[in-house]
Subunit: 451 residues, 2 copies
């Protein structure tokens, strides 16, 4: 008999492994944060003895969902300024609100709020670009969540650094502090080609490569970015980044909407991970990422929520559903991006986009034990003819009942185990009052008063 | 003191009345199924004494959501055949499955299953087109839900009638039986211009007008319908229906995707209600309804889920969110269809589309008491700067906690009061096994076996 820390027993395992195995009445033995064994329940139970067993009967057991691009602390600006033009939204509302409100404390509580939301929806890994990222790393580690985290670098003064030089210095210290953590992967996060000079983009790339850490960046999100790049550099954003030596197998690019076939080939050649946020892209009218072509080219493509100020949910179930539907309507073909492919983008594909497919993204021996149990007993999820259809088109984030990250329970039967939800909601309400008071929020603020 | 049957007390009332009043710490007194009074809590409570009070503190109180187009019994085919071409989906999967499975018992249990899902998501009124519609009316009445229900009429043999003549006869009896019901509005439901002859379309219209009941029909859903109409009649579907005298202020038209400006004007002139199903339209790649132009023209426009075989959820929160996002991305303008307008489509606009705006769709004295309480305490719905943004972009169907229809509680704190959910889920599982056995379901049927 082998010892295990935890056995997840029963239920249907949707492994997302190379053979797309779906194991009915399966079991998973977990030891030291890793999946030690996975297979038929009787077989696993005959060979393993565990201190703790979780009954997954009647549930689907999946790899934890991967959110490839977030600004977690922005949950405190959720719905603060919707339905404006992208330019108004940023310049008139978001940037001023950030300048006046974003402190280390704000970032801690905003990030915790987002983690409650993300874990409740089955997200076990997220990539984040914001400010005070060391605080983000600290609270993420405390919550037991997996994060790929990068301090946003811009050429203008930000809430916690006045210059890019300060941001580079911050990032080096941040990397030194977190580089060997089991949950936190420190990253370098230059914001975009339109907020950074060529020299600073190259310096960011060099910093990442000196340290062997990932690079998080926005690429080709909005038409203005592409227009500006063509006028300044005579090149598309992707071609420009290729020319200056920025692209490589360590880059995770959010959005990648305005890319042509040469750009898609370049992203593939450099092994860049691309991350799709259909809710945000639709709500801000940014455009439609050519997901079908990118997947056909074999590129690494994941899913993401983007920040709560632009989405306004942080729910990968929503993004799977929308990714499939948006590609279908954009091409007038219901066959493209079928359910299974959408689920791949949220699991093993998302892991590939973050270049972490050897550690997470599927239920396999030797991978980190990040997994979720999804209840299938709701009326909205009955009957179930196909697990992939059900997961993408019918089940919701609210159906996730239990979440294990790195072998540890972080939510059990909807109870949060590592985050104090009540305190977090209180802090969020306090910040809401502060933000509402500071800014003449251009909309009905009524309900804030009774909270 | 006035007597009331029920007082809903506290919370923020989002009335959706002509002044868009949002009343904090409000109350609603309900008597004989009607809203007897609505206003400030202290004022209402000082003037009314009720047998029963519901505490709505911390919740948003809204008019019940209106689902303008459904095929409720098709919940039993949820996810049965996804990601196929529209033609394959219908001809190879849905029509054969209906021919072999749809009986009165199937319709009863499928409709009940959908009602559990709909009520859980805050839907209080739905319009339905299917077969055995008398059974649909009976179970809808039993559940205490409001329905505009029509037996589908087609030129080919259907599960419960061999000819359109039989369907007309069925419909006349159905109307006679239900015409004075407080919850059920019987309707005539000719399927579409591509499944009915001109004579039968006109006969359906005449039948409805003789009886003074609404007409439910699909119009201009798919490109093939428009192409066929132009080739056969030299006219768009709307222009053709106008020419044959079919359009009028009793028509509720599902989809209306392939309409030009003349069609939009005609729909407005005839006061037709149009109903938008963004999830279904995206998933089947049917097209994008020109909602912005139709609303600008003053047309009656509501929202709908369509059937669970094409969506696969029956959740108006999803449809509000998607309606707003789909218009934004289709026009590359984030300002169009703002949150409040999307919520209108689900409430007072949906009532207008069904020509029932004098009875339902807003919280006002004298309207039927159809209302829902939405919990705003979830991490995904915190903070809240704007009720409309929150309802459309952040809150979910699963946040609905209590539902009142026609003055009666049908769900309280998520407990279903008029439908036996456990029995309904058991029956749905039994039908799933039957359908899976009868058809070689072309997809992974694994999970059905452990249920």
């Amino acid at each position: 008999m082998n010892n295990a820390d935890l056995i997840v027993s029963g239920g249907t395992l949707v492994t997302m492994d190379a053979k797309s195995r779906v194991i009915e009445n399966g079991a998973i033995a977990i030891r030291d944060g890793f999946i030690a064994a996975i297979g038929d329940r009787a077989d696993i139970e005959s060979r393993h003895r565990a201190r703790r067993t979780i009954d997954a009967s009647g549930a689907l057991v999946l790899p934890g969902l991967i959110n490839g691009h977030a600004h977690a602390a922005m949950s405190l600006f959720r719905g603060f300024a919707d339905d404006h033009s992208l330019d108004d939204w940023l310049q008139k509302y978001i940037f001023p609100a950030e300048a006046q409100n974003v402190t280390e404390d704000f970032v801690e509580w905003g990030t915790r709020l987002s983690m409650v939301e993300m874990i409740r929806g089955g997200i076990t890994t997220y990539a984040d670009m914001y400010y005070f990222e060391d605080a983000v790393a600290r609270v993420t580690k405390e919550a037991g969540m997996r994060g790929i985290l990068g301090e946003t670098i811009v050429d203008f003064p930000a809430p916690d650094h006045r210059t890019p030089a300060e941001a580079f210095e911050y990032t080096q210290k941040f990397i030194d502090k977190w580089r060997n953590d089991s949950l936190i992967t420190p990253a370098v996060a230059p914001h975009s080609i339109y907020t950074l000079s060529e020299a600073n983009l190259q310096a960011a790339g060099a910093l990442a490569r000196r340290n062997g850490v990932p690079i998080l960046i926005h690429i080709a999100e909005a038409p203005f970015e592409t227009a500006q790049s063509r006028s300044r550099h005579g090149l598309s954003p992707v071609a420009y980044l290729s020319r200056i030596g920025f692209l490589g197998p360590d880059v995770v690019a959010a959005h990648c909407i305005w890319v042509d076939s040469a750009d898609i080939a370049a992203l593939g050649r450099f092994d860049v991970g691309s991350v799709h946020s259909p809710s945000s892209n639709m709500k801000l009218a940014a455009g439609v990422m050519p997901v079908v072509e990118m997947l056909a080219a074999g590129n690494r493509v994941g899913l993401a929520t983007d920040g709560a100020a632009s989405n306004n949910s942080q729910d990968i179930f929503d993004e799977m559903d929308l990714a499939a539907k948006l590609q279908k309507i954009a091409r007038m073909d219901p066959r493209v991006l079928p359910a299974k492919q959408a689920l791949e983008m949220a699991t093993i594909g998302g892991a590939r986009a973050l270049h972490l497919e050897n550690r997470i993204g599927s239920l396999e021996d030797g991978k980190r034990a990040d997994l979720i149990l999804v209840d299938t007993n709701g009326p909205h999820a009955t009957p179930m003819y196909n697990v992939y259809s059900q997961l993408v088109y019918a089940l919701k984030g609210s159906d996730v009942k239990t979440v294990v990250i790195d072998g540890k329970l972080v939510m059990e039967d909807r109870r949060m185990l590592t985050l104090n939800e009540e305190e977090i909601l209180e802090k969020a309400h306090a910040y809401q009052r502060r933000v509402s008071d500071l800014h003449s929020v251009p909309v009905m603020t009524g309900p804030s008063r009774f909270l």
